[in-house]
C-alpha cells in the first residue's frame, strides 16, 4: 500500500522560502499568482494493506517526526 503525507506550514507562520518563490514567479512573468506557501511531500510504502492500520501508523509518524506541530500541519492520503 502506498501513502502520501503532505506537511504544510500553519496559516500565519512566516514562510520566507514561499515568499522567495513567489517573487521568482513574478520575475518570470508568471502572472496571476497571489501567494505561495512551500511544504513537503513524503511518499511512503506501507507493509499493511489495511487502510485503518496504515492511518494509525502514519499519524504516529507525523506526530513523532515528520511534522513539527508547533508550526506545521499534516495531511495523510492513502493512495
Amino acid at each position: 500500500m502506498k501513502a502520501r503525507i503532505i506537511v504544510t506550514l500553519k496559516p500565519g507562520v512566516l514562510d520566507p522560502q514561499g515568499k522567495a518563490i513567489e517573487a521568482a514567479l513574478k520575475s518570470l512573468a508568471v502572472d496571476g499568482v497571489e501567494g505561495v506557501r512551500q511544504g513537503k511531500v513524503f511518499d511512503i510504502e506501507m507493509a499493511t494493506t489495511d487502510g485503518a492500520v496504515a492511518e494509525v501508523t502514519l499519524r504516529t509518524a507525523c506526530e513523532k517526526l515528520l511534522a513539527n506541530t508547533v508550526v506545521e500541519n499534516y495531511a495523510i492520503e492513502i493512495l
Binding site: P16, K19, N68, V70
Partner: protein, 226 residues
C-alpha cells in the same frame, strides 16, 4: 563540573565548546549520538553547534530523537544542566526540552557575523558571571535562527522571565536592525521553566580568547564551572 558533550553526525563545533569548557575548569567527556547513557557523574550535558544529520527534514529534528537524547532528557528530568548552542538549541526545541522552534531567517540568508547580546538575567547557573543588562560581543552563524512560538507560549516565556539573551545593538538597545534573523521578541536564548536548560543561537564558545577576537563568551563557561 563534569560536562558531557554529545556529538552527532554533522556536529562541527564540539571541539570549540570542549576547549571553552576546559578553559573554565570543567572536566569534559564526549558522548556519541547512539550512546544510551551519559557518563556517571555528568553535571552538564552540552549539545554543540553544527549541522546534525545534514539538517535533513528540519534542523535538529532527527538529532532530537537520537538515543543519546533520551539520556539527555532523563538527565534534565533529574534536574541536570543542559546547554544547547546553535544547532544544539534547534535540537532542544525539536526534542521538547524547550518550547518553540527555530525557523528560516526572515531574510532567507545564512547570517555569519559579530553580534551583540543583552544578558537578560544573571541569577542562573549559565549567566551568574555576567552583570545584569551586560552587553556581550559574540557571533552568530546560522540559516535557521528565527525564534518562533505561538502567542500563548511566548507570553508564558516572557511572564516567567525565561529569556536569557536578546539580540541588541552595541548600546544594549533591542532594535529591529540588531535582530537580523527576525526572532520574536529578539530572543537569542531561552531557559526551561526551572532554568536548568539553556538554548541559544549565538556562539559564546568562539569568544574565550583575545587571540581570536574577544573573551565575552567566557562568562557563560565560568558561570557553569563556578
Amino acid at each position: 563540573m563534569h560536562a558531557a558533550v554529545v556529538v552527532f553526525p554533522g556536529s562541527n563545533r564540539e571541539t570549540d565548546v570542549v576547549r571553552a569548557l576546559r578553559r573554565s575548569g570543567a572536566r569534559v567527556s564526549l558522548v556519541w549520538h547512539a550512546d544510551h547513557d551519559l557518563p556517571a557523574g555528568t553535571d552538564l550535558a552540552v549539545l554543540p553547534g553544527g549541522f546534525s544529520y545534514g539538517d535533513y527534514l528540519r534542523c535538529g529534528a532527527i538529532a532530537g530523537r537520537a538515543a543519546a537524547m533520551d539520556a539527555v532528557r532523563a538527565h534534565a528530568a533529574r534536574g541536570g544542566l543542559v546547554l544547547g548552542i546553535c544547532n544544539g538549541f534547534q535540537i532542544l526545541c525539536e526534542s521538547g526540552l524547550l518550547p518553540g522552534v527555530l525557523m528560516r531567517n526572515v531574510d532567507r540568508r545564512f547570517l555569519c557575523h559579530r553580534q551583540t547580546l543583552r544578558v537578560e538575567r544573571t541569577d542562573t547557573r549559565f549567566t551568574s558571571a555576567y552583570r545584569p543588562g551586560q552587553v556581550i560581543d559574540v557571533c552568530i552563524a546560522h540559516g535557521e535562527g528565527n525564534y518562533f512560538a505561538d502567542p500563548e507560549t511566548l507570553a508564558r516565556i516572557e511572564a516567567e522571565g525565561r529569556v536569557a539573551f536578546r539580540y541588541c545593538d552595541a548600546d544594549g538597545a533591542v532594535t529591529v536592525e540588531a535582530n537580523r534573523n527576525g526572532s520574536l521578541n529578539a530572543i537569542a536564548g531561552i531557559l526551561s521553566e526551572n532554568r536548568t536548560v539553556l538554548g541559544m543561537m549565538p556562539h559564546p564558545e568562539n569568544f574565550v580568547e583575545e587571540l581570536i577576537g574577544g573573551t565575552d563568551g567566557r562568562g557563560l563557561f565560568d558561570s557553569l564551572a563556578a
